[in-house]
Symmetry: none
C-alpha cells in the first residue's frame, strides 16, 4: 500500500479498512486479517496496525475476540456512514458554503457534483 506522508499511517490503514467495509469487501461478523498478516502485507510495524485496530474498536467498527483476532462489528457499515456523515454536515458542508460565498462560485463550478447527485437520486427513485 502506498502511504501519503501528510496523514499518519495508522489512520490511513484505518480508512482503507473502513473503505473495504463500505464497499462490502468486508462484511459484519467477518474476521479481518490478523495484526501480523496485515503488518506484513502493508510493510509496516505490528504496533502500527495494532493502533489502527484498537482505534477502530473504540469507534465500534471492529470487535476483538480473545485469542481469535478482530472481526467486523455488527452494523459497522452504518457506523462508518454515520461518522462520515457527521464530518460531512459539521465540517465539509459549512466550509463549502463559505468557500462558495467567498469565491463567488456558480452552479457551473459545481457541475461534477450536481451530476453525481442526479445520478444518485435516479438510482434511488
Amino acid at each position: 500500500m502506498e502511504f501519503n506522508d501528510n496523514k499518519n499511517i495508522f489512520i490511513q490503514i484505518g480508512e482503507w479498512i473502513m473503505d473495504q467495509i463500505i464497499q462490502g469487501k468486508l462484511i459484519a461478523g467477518e474476521r479481518v486479517p490478523s495484526v501480523r498478516e496485515l503488518a506484513e502485507e502493508m510493510v509496516v510495524n505490528r504496533n502500527t496496525v495494532n493502533k489502527t485496530f484498537t482505534n477502530l474498536q473504540d469507534l465500534g467498527i471492529l470487535e476483538n475476540r480473545r485469542g481469535m483476532g478482530y472481526f467486523v462489528a455488527p452494523n459497522a457499515d452504518s457506523t462508518i456512514r454515520d461518522i462520515r456523515k457527521q464530518i460531512f454536515f459539521n465540517e465539509q458542508l459549512p466550509q463549502l458554503v463559505e468557500t462558495a460565498k467567498q469565491l463567488q462560485l456558480s452552479q457551473e463550478d459545481f457541475k461534477p457534483l450536481l451530476e453525481q447527485l442526479k445520478r444518485i437520486d435516479n438510482e434511488n427513485e
Copy 2:
C-alpha cells in the same frame, strides 16, 4: 481565538489573516500587526506567528519591509482567491463527489449549498 487541534495553529492564523483580507478588513499595502502584537493577542508563541508570516510571504500574500514589519501585498486578495480556487477544484470538489457517492447523499443533503449558489447566481445576473 479558538484553535482547532486538527490543523496546525500557524495555518489557522494564516487562514484568519486571509479571511481579513478577503473581507476587506486588511487591504493591499496596509501594515499587518507585528509578530509580537499578534502573538500576544492570540496567546500563541511568537515563533508560530513568525511561521504564519513567512508562509504567507512565500504565497505572495504578505511582504516584508526590513525593519518595518509585514504588509499586505498588492493584489493579495486575488492571489488568495486563486489559491483557494485551486484548492477547491483540485481537492475539495473531487473529494465531495466521492463523499456524495459513498454516502449516497441526495440533493436534499446539499440544500444549504444549493441555496447559497442560487443567491450568488442572482447577484451576478
Copy 3:
C-alpha cells in the same frame, strides 16, 4: 455464556462452576461435564476449559480421576466459601473502605448492601 473482557475467560468459567457448587446444582462427588462438552457449550477453546479445571483442581475444588474426568471434591462448597471469605477480608473489604473514603460515600449509597445484611441477620437469628 457472556464473558467479560476484563477478566480471563478461564477464571470466569471457574467462577461459574464455583457458583454452581455453592448453589447446590453440582454436589460433592458428582461428575462435571467433560472438557470437550463444556468447551462446546460455552463456545470456547478446549485449552481454556482445561485451564479452568486444572486451576480448580489446584484449589481443591475439583478432582481428576484418570480416564473418567473431573469430579466435585468432597467439601468443595466449604473450600469455595473459605477462599471467597479470604478474598473478601483481605481484598474486597479494605478496598471498599478506601473507596468509600475517597468518594465520600454515605450509608445511603450502601443501602442495597445493608438491607441484604439485615435479611441475612434475620435468617440466622
Copy 4:
C-alpha cells in the same frame, strides 16, 4: 514507583495521576510533568507515559496544549469521581451484595466499613 505485575504499567501510572488529582495535589488547569520527565522519574519508557496521557485525555481528565504539554482538565476531579462511582455502583456494589448473600456475611463482618461510613456521615453533618 513500585509497579504491580498484575496491572499494566500505563494503567497504574494513570491511577496514580488520578489519585494525585483526587487528593488535590494536582489541581484543574495545572500542568502535569512532561512525558519525558515522568518517564524518567518512574523509570519507564516515554511511550508508556504517552499511552497513559492519551488515555486520560480520552477520559476528559487531561488536556493537551500544543507544544506546552498536558494540563489537568477543568473539573477533572469530579470526572474521576464520576468514573469511580460508576464502577462502584455497577460492579463493586452488586458483587458485594452477591458475596454477602453467598457467604452469609453478617453486619459484624462489615464493621470496618460501617465505621468508615459513620465517620463520613459525621463529617458531612
